[in-house]
Every structure is written in structure tokens, then in C-alpha cells.
């Protein structure tokens, strides 16, 4: 399949223009975070000198370090919880046959139709009444159970031959052991995909952390950025952008590393 040169060139031009347009907002933020304030105010696009001042200020004025740590802890908790609960549920749906399984599976599908946003009021009250406000538990627990993750892993577990399960039963290997020693290692790729996706979504969460934190103790970096933005409106754009860059750096790195797997995994989960 070879393409005429002119067509190739045309495609590259289109691709480059599209890439510049898509990347411009992030690139602009990156430039501004290193640009001296005077140059930002005069509308410079390419700075003639670079400075780390904005980053220093962002860390000095805001407990950004502890916000980052909070986000990391919460995201890791959510990721781990989702992986554990989804894989357990998927195992039951694939390898255990029992009455009422299809009904339960339908129940899992039904959860996808309930938007979390429509149930935040009672959820807030639950977390408040359990004294989970301003705790890592309150921030992460509501997101452990995940229908999408269960479906994704179910598709993957289905590819494990049934004979393997039968053989292990004859050999007297219990379900828990089979789950731990056979199913999980075989499904490693899917677990990684789901993990990356779960971490990205958890790190980027906005509404729930806004409601479930009322002080700085466990506040996540997203809400920290909102604070930074609302308190630094007076021409301190460099500091705000430095904050923004710090927030997106971990997820962008993760995305770049896991993009191929994520694309494959998500497409499979979406379509089968």
C-alpha cells in the first residue's frame, strides 16, 4: 500500500496543524509557567528568558506538596479497590454458575444508568453521618465498585479455557486459589489497562472531592487548583499555570506510557 508523495505531504500538513491546535492550550500553559510575569502581561508568546519563580511561589503559598500526596493516596486507593472488587465480581460472573447470576448481572448493568451526580445529596449525607468527611476513606470508598471494570475483566476472563478450570477442580484447587494463581496472572494486561484508566479518572475527579473535603487535611490537588485560581486572579497567571502543569504532569506521563494498552483495552471493553 503505497501512497503518492503529494498525498502523504497533504496528510502530514493536516496532522501537524491538527496537532498544534489540539496541543496549543497545554503548550501555552507550559510556556506561561516559565515566563516572567512582565512578559505574560505584555502578551508575549515566545519568552526571551525563563524563570522557575512561578513554581516556587505556587509551592510556597499553597500546600501543593500535601495536596499532591493526598491525590496520590486517594487515586491509588480507588485504583486498588476497583481492581480488587471488579476482578472478584468478574470471576463470579465467568467461573461460578449459580441461580440468580443473570439477575445480578443485570443489576450491574443497571448501575451504569444511575448517574453519580444525581445521587450526590444522599451520598454526601452518608459520608457526613459516618464521619468520613475529610478522610481518605470518604474520598475513595464510594468508587470502589465499578460496573465498567467488571465488564472489561469479564470479557478477558472469558478467554481463559473452561478446561483449565475443570482440571483445577479435579486437582482440588479451590476457587480462591484459582483466582489468585491462574486468573489474575493471565489477565495482567487487562488489569493494568483498568488500573491506568481508574487512576486517571480518580486523579481528575472534581465534584466529589469538592464536597467531601472541607479543610486542607486531605484536599486533593484538583480542588487545590481551584483555590489557587480563585485566590490568584490578580495577574498572577504564571503561578496559576505552574499549578495547572503540576496537576497534569503525573496523568500525562501515565497516559503516554499506557496509551497503546489503554486504547486496546478500552475499545474491547466498549464493544464486546
Amino acid at each position: 500500500m503505497s501512497m503518492p508523495l503529494s498525498q502523504k505531504l497533504f496528510l502530514y500538513v493536516l496532522l501537524t496543524v491538527a496537532a498544534i491546535l489540539v496541543f496549543a492550550p497545554a503548550l501555552l500553559a507550559l510556556l506561561m509557567s516559565f515566563m516572567p510575569s512582565e512578559q505574560i502581561l505584555t502578551g508575549t508568546i515566545i519568552p526571551d528568558s525563563l524563570t522557575l519563580d512561578h513554581y516556587r511561589k505556587a509551592f510556597e503559598r499553597f500546600p501543593l506538596m500535601s495536596y499532591l500526596l493526598n491525590s496520590l493516596i486517594v487515586s491509588l486507593l480507588i485504583t486498588a479497590g476497583q481492581l480488587l472488587l471488579s476482578s472478584l465480581a468478574a470471576y463470579a460472573f465467568v467461573f461460578l454458575e449459580f441461580k440468580g447470576r443473570d439477575t445480578l448481572f443485570f443489576l450491574f448493568i443497571a448501575t451504569m444508568m444511575i448517574p453519580f451526580e444525581a445521587s450526590i445529596i444522599p451520598n454526601f449525607q452518608t459520608i457526613r453521618d459516618l464521619n468520613f468527611l475529610n478522610t481518605y476513606t470518604g474520598l475513595s470508598l464510594p468508587f470502589f465498585a465499578m460496573a465498567f471494570g467488571t465488564f472489561l475483566l469479564r470479557q478477558n476472563f472469558k478467554q481463559i479455557p473452561k478446561e483449565l478450570k475443570e482440571a483445577s477442580e479435579i486437582a482440588g484447587i479451590g476457587d480462591l486459589k484459582f483466582y489468585l494463581t491462574v486468573v489474575l496472572p493471565v489477565a495482567k494486561t487487562s488489569l493494568v489497562t483498568l488500573g491506568v484508566y481508574g487512576f486517571l479518572s480518580a486523579w481528575n475527579m472534581y465534584l466529589w472531592p469538592l464536597l467531601a473535603t472541607t479543610d486542607d487535611s486531605v484536599r486533593t490537588v484538583q480542588i487545590g487548583l481551584k483555590q489557587l485560581q480563585s485566590q490568584e486572579q490578580l495577574n498572577e497567571w504564571g503561578v496559576i499555570m505552574a499549578g495547572g502543569i503540576i496537576v497534569v504532569l503525573p496523568t500525562l506521563i501515565l497516559l503516554f506510557l499506557g496509551q497503546k494498552k489503554l486504547q486496546k483495552g478500552l475499545t474491547e471493553g466498549a464493544l464486546k
Binding site: 501555552l28 445529596i121 481528575n204 499549578g243 466498549a270
Partner: protein, 312 residues
């Protein structure tokens, strides 16, 4: 002898039956144990809150959200006669109308472009999917500057052509469009990635035989790519639609529902009523409306989609 054989047989059958029943019970117990953590959490954080929301929507509440007086459908009557909520619904639908087709068209264009087998295409794919790693909060901060009335790039760009500066976020005529524009950008990454995956799973044999028949680029796009991609498109449209109805973060960061409530989408309106004005009853009524909207849309999409979508 035959009697003995029969009795042995029936004994064996009984034993097997017993063992089977025992296994079935065992499996049920095990199955429930494996599913229990998910079921408990779904019940506590999804099913119960949904029922509770419906319940609260029929009550007046005190400031901590405890129901005090049963008022029947008053909350619903109140929200549907309030111009604020009517505007909020209108805003939400308008927002959906801006963002869903916008997201799908841009992402589809990028995905088709990035599906070409060219050297260095990986870099472009990475860039196109990058907005998936950018949070709503960060994206809002980036766009806030782009929208800045004097320093922002958008107005600077317009001024080159002598176009008067636009109050992207401050002009009631433009604010919703601006929030939608930034939302489309935020959506691109995920939608692109899924669509690209869908494109790559199309059998290349189809294109080869079309090539032999001398089919042109757009003919192939219309006759092969779009039909074969329809399950993926269907999924992506559903997800984008539901997400659009749940939009909150960018509104809270960029406009706080303003100017003149022009960007107060339904989730923002729920948030403000519940957690700023402590009107949990009317907020719950709005949440019920949101729930019904999303439920209807999902069901409608499934019914409509099943007929139209071409599955392999």
C-alpha cells in the same frame, strides 16, 4: 441381580444428585461472596442514594438535609414553574447540542487522520489523545487564559483580523458557547482513542478489495469506514451524551453558572441549591429530573441504536 443393580444405580443417582445440589449451594454461596463487596457498595452509594433522592424530593428539609414536612409534588411544581430551573434545563440541552456533535465530529476527523499508516504517526496519536490526561480543573485554568478579554489568545487572534474583542466568559451571549468549546477540547482525547481503536479493528481486507474495484477515498469512508465503525460511534455518542448531562467542573471553574445564569447547567443548579442554599428538597427534585433524563436517553439510544447500528 437386576434389582440390586437398580438399587445401586438409584443410590448412585441419589448421591450424584446430592453432590450436585451441594455444589450448587456451594457455588451460590461462593458466587455471592465474590460479588458481595461490589453489591454492598453499589447498594450504599448508588441504589440507596437514588431511592433516598426520590424520597427527599417529596419533602421540605432542614439545613442538614433531614426531611421535615411532606409536601407531595410541590418541589416538582416549584422547579418546573421557576424560570431559573427552566433556563437551567434549556441551558443543559443547548450545551448537549453544542458539545456532543462537536466532540464526535472533531474526534472522528482526528481518528481517521491518525489511522493512516505513516512514519511518526505514533507521536500524533499521543498528542491527540493527550487531553484525556488533563483534568477538568487544569483544562479550565488553561482555557480561562485563552478566554481572557485582553491578554487571551483568542481575542488577540481576532484582533489581527480587526475583529472586536469578545467577552467569551462575561458576555451572556457567548459564555455557554465558550464553556462548550473548552469541553469539546477536554472530550477529544478519550473519544479519539476509542474511535481510533474502532478504526483499527476494521478488517483491512475490506479496503483492499475496494481498492481493487477502484473505489475512491470518500467512497470507502462512506461505504466501509462509517458503517463498520457504527458500534463504536454508537458507544461514543452515548458516553459523550451522558457526560454532557453531568457537566459540572468547568462551569464551576470558568463561570460559576454566570453571567446571568447563562451557563447554569443542571448539575451546577443541583449543587447550588443543595450545598449553597441548603434547599435539599428542590435540589433532589432536580436530581430526579436528571436521573429520568439520563435513563430515557440511555433506553432510547439502545432501542434506536440497535436498529441502526451495523454489527459485524
Amino acid at each position: 441381580m437386576s434389582e440390586a443393580a437398580v438399587s445401586i444405580q438409584s443410590e448412585a443417582a441419589e448421591l450424584i444428585g446430592k453432590a450436585k445440589r451441594k455444589r450448587r449451594i456451594q457455588n451460590t454461596v461462593k458466587g455471592l461472596l465474590f460479588l458481595l463487596p461490589s453489591i454492598i457498595l453499589f447498594s450504599v452509594f448508588l441504589f440507596y442514594p437514588m431511592i433516598r433522592t426520590v424520597y427527599l424530593s417529596f419533602f421540605l428539609t432542614n439545613t442538614s438535609g433531614m426531611p421535615t414536612v411532606f409536601v407531595g409534588f410541590d418541589n416538582f411544581i416549584n422547579i418546573f414553574t421557576s424560570p431559573l430551573f427552566q433556563d437551567s434545563l434549556k441551558t443543559t440541552f443547548l450545551f448537549v447540542l453544542y458539545t456532543v456533535p462537536g466532540t464526535i465530529l472533531v474526534s472522528l476527523f482526528l481518528a481517521v487522520l491518525a489511522n493512516e499508516k505513516l512514519r511518526g504517526i505514533g507521536l500524533f496519536r499521543t498528542i491527540f489523545s493527550s487531553t484525556m490526561g488533563i483534568s477538568v480543573a487544569a483544562a479550565s485554568v488553561f482555557w480561562m487564559f485563552l478566554f481572557h478579554p485582553t491578554m487571551g489568545w483568542l481575542n488577540q487572534f481576532l484582533s489581527v483580523f480587526g475583529v472586536e474583542a469578545i467577552g467569551w466568559l462575561t458576555d451572556p451571549k457567548w459564555a455557554l458557547f465558550s464553556v462548550a468549546l473548552s469541553t469539546i477540547w477536554m472530550n477529544i482525547g478519550f473519544t479519539f482513542l476509542i474511535l481510533l481503536g474502532g478504526l483499527q479493528s476494521i478488517d483491512s481486507y475490506l479496503y483492499e478489495s475496494a481498492d481493487i474495484d477502484g473505489a475512491g477515498y470518500f467512497y470507502k469512508l462512506r461505504r466501509i469506514t462509517v458503517p463498520m465503525l457504527s458500534p463504536t460511534l454508537f458507544f461514543v455518542v452515548t458516553v459523550t451524551l451522558i457526560n454532557a448531562f453531568q457537566t459540572f467542573g468547568q462551569v464551576d471553574m470558568l463561570t460559576r453558572g454566570g453571567p446571568q445564569n447563562e451557563t447554569s447547567v443542571i448539575v451546577y443548579s443541583i449543587y447550588r441549591d443543595a450545598f449553597v442554599n441548603y434547599q435539599y428538597g428542590t435540589a433532589s427534585a432536580q436530581a430526579v429530573v436528571l436521573f429520568i433524563l439520563i435513563l430515557l436517553l440511555t433506553l432510547l439510544q439502545f432501542k434506536w441504536g440497535e436498529r441502526k447500528v451495523h454489527y459485524q
